[in-house]
């Protein structure tokens, strides 16, 4: 017998039969994306952690409702986003989301840029993330899903709780608002 990693489908089947280790593997596969989505929605890492943990426990209990053969991630992300929104509502906080650009690592080929250019680029990145953080939750979530987390349209739709056909229009409206926020010409 050749040992091979179990497929997602097999892991789901095992988890349904009460195999906690199989479910832990599924959680590990999806926890990063799930936590980041919850963070974008809640605006607080502590709330995001609670929401994601709760969502994964609920998802385990709801595995019976998951349709076998379908991809797990959109289904999980819908539960996570829902839990995160509930928590945000319960907390009653409407603080802006604080996102920071990662370090000064520049992609290859940009090293020839002058310090001024680098500074400008850094300011621009910060301005974009600030602007994103000030957007309404649904606007920043759709942008974060598509561009920062690079989710598919179907996954984004599940996260937002809308039909896949609605993602494009939501996204273009959100981008317009971000342009206004950062003072770009519309």
């Amino acid at each position: 017998m050749v040992g091979r990693p179990l497929t997602e489908h097999e892991l789901v089947e095992r988890a349904r039969d009460g195999d906690g280790a199989a479910y832990a593997t599924l959680v590990r596969d999806h926890e990063e994306t799930a936590f980041r989505i919850a963070y974008v929605i809640c605006g607080s890492a502590a709330d995001a952690e609670e929401a994601t943990q709760e969502a994964f426990v609920k998802a385990y209990r709801g595995l019976g409702r998951f349709r076998a053969g379908e991809p797990l991630r959109p289904w999980l992300l819908a539960i996570v986003a829902n839990e995160a929104r509930n928590r945000r509502r319960a907390a009653g906080r409407r603080a802006a989301l604080a996102l920071r650009a990662a370090g000064e690592e520049r992609p290859a080929g940009e090293s020839a840029h002058s310090p001024e250019a680098a500074l400008l680029a850094g300011e621009r990145r910060a301005a974009l993330l600030d602007g994103l953080g000030r957007l309404a939750e649904r606007d920043r979530t759709v942008i974060a899903c598509r561009y920062l987390l690079e989710l598919s349209e179907a996954e984004t739709a599940a996260t937002l709780g809308v039909r896949p056909g609605t993602v494009k229009s939501r996204l273009s409206r959100a981008l317009e608002r971000l342009r206004e926020e950062v003072g770009d010409r519309v």
Binding site: R16, D17, G18, D19, G20, A21, Y23, A24, T25, V27, R28, E31, E32, A34, F35, R36, Y39, A45, A48, E49, T52, Q53, E54, F56, V57, Y60, R61, G64, L99, R100, A101, A102, G103, E105, P107, R124, R125, L128, L129, I143, Y147, L148, E150, L175, L178, R179, D184
Partner: protein
């Protein structure tokens, strides 16, 4: 793609560190597993109360696991500070009633009453008496001493098989008495513990996450098996490890 979209795509965000959710989730599920047959139960429970129970359970486990004095304090608080063997006068009509196991019943009625499948070890056949316990829901099968099942109590009981929805592994090392020894093994691939020594009571977690303590009922060692369907199985009697495993493996 617009310039703005291109910029967004190349943004590297410094995300807050992702917590170790798989460990946290696994811990919560271990405290309250929800296998197939318990799903309806979970759905029917009031959700916030359930969350509270899990949270409380998790706190208890953390405290119990961390500090031995705190563990005794918590167990004291819950009303099971020490391991005691309680034996009342035997009542001949209800064989094994001296073990303090609950209400005598029949196998058939027990199967109708409880939410989990009541299994019988084929190796020893039908029990001589059956007890239905509550808080938590449990079924005990009692066997008279006979050739192959030496008497393990003054009341002539040779074997006790307990079935209840619970997990023992999170608490096992900490709550088994100091005069006893735990051996880890697997029975049909399921995690199992063979406890021998002075006392072999053990603590366990109920589906809601609350801790409970189960005293030893008979002389002789105890085999605990954690089945994947969420059932904790205890085989207790004056048996060798191999005999106890054979009985556990024969559950149908």
């Amino acid at each position: 793609m617009s310039e703005l979209e291109r910029e967004l795509r190349t943004l590297h965000v410094e995300w807050p560190e992702t917590p170790d959710l798989s460990a946290a989730v696994a811990g919560r599920l271990a405290a309250a597993p929800a296998p197939r047959w318990r799903r309806q139960l979970a759905a029917s429970l009031d959700w916030p109360a359930w969350q509270m129970a899990v949270a409380l359970g998790a706190v208890l486990v953390a405290v119990v696991m961390a500090v031995p004095p705190a563990r005794s304090a918590v167990l004291d608080l819950l009303g099971f500070g020490s391991v005691r063997i309680e034996r009342a006068e035997p009542r001949p009509s209800d064989f094994g009633s001296g073990l303090g196991l609950g209400t005598p019943t029949t196998l058939e009625r027990a199967r109708r009453e409880v939410d989990f499948p009541v299994l019988v070890p084929a190796a020893v056949g039908r029990p001589d008496s059956v007890y239905l316990g509550s808080g938590p829901e449990r079924v005990d099968l009692v066997y008279r001493a006979r050739p192959g099942l030496p008497a393990a109590s003054t009341t002539g009981v040779g074997l006790l098989v307990t079935e209840l929805p619970a997990v023992a592994s999170p608490l096992i090392e900490k709550t088994v008495g100091s005069g006893s020894r735990i051996e880890r093994l697997t029975v049909d691939g399921d995690p199992a513990f063979f406890i021998t020594g002075a006392d072999h009571g053990f603590a366990y977690l109920m589906p809601g996450g609350d801790a409970q303590f189960e005293s030893q009922r008979l002389a002789g060692p105890t085999l605990l098996v954690e089945r994947p369907d969420g059932l904790l199985l205890r085989v207790e009697g004056d048996l060798t490890r191999e005999q106890a495993v054979r009985i556990a493996e024969s559950l149908r």
